[in-house]
Symmetry: C2
Subunit: 128 residues, 2 copies
Amino acid sequence: MNLKQVAKDTAKVLSSYLTYQAVRIVLAQLSETNPPLAYWLNDFSDKESIQDGEAYLEKLLKEKQDLAFRVMTVREHLAEEVTDFLPEMVRASIQEANMEHRRQQLERLTQLTAIDPGSHPENSTDAD
Amino acid sequence: MNLKQVAKDTAKVLSSYLTYQAVRIVLAQLSETNPPLAYWLNDFSDKESIQDGEAYLEKLLKEKQDLAFRVMTVREHLAEEVTDFLPEMVRASIQEANMEHRRQQLERLTQLTAIDPGSHPENSTDAD
């Protein structure tokens, strides 16, 4: 288990996701202040995947530098404001989800046993 | 800009991504210890998208409980070992990438000016 590589890959995915969220924020702002530009950016983002945030920004810089700088500023702001909360949030959400999956699985198994008591020989004495 | 919602969405994406990484780790382990089971899990993961980690695990629990529990344990371990490093890594990588984009853009603009000095009137006195 190469934890260092997992951390590196995860940070890259996270950077690209925050770029996507930054584009969404700029889109929402533009739709209030400059609808034609919002339309343009929406169209551009449909064509150019944000899966790789850096490649997306590189193309946007060539088309509309100001918009690209704006997205870059917003994602830097998001990285500063949001990332510190993530470790605790992700740990808690995975722990809770795991617990919930285990609980549901136990419930499913209990129901199966209730439907088919014969599968548990120790119950057969009750049935006699 | 709803930072709370962005944090929540980002944590969800991160949980699913760590589930995907956990599946990859379990796959690598199985390919050493139990190749037929590795083949089965690979096939299952091709069919069931891990885009939504919880839906994926729910289906896996119904098919092969032990494998699902194993993935759940590994992703909990990843969340504990990896997430603490992410805030600093993501902030640094976004800052560096932004700086690099700005540098490249400046270089591009400088080259354009060098090719077409006429676009900067203050240069024309030198040309005379």
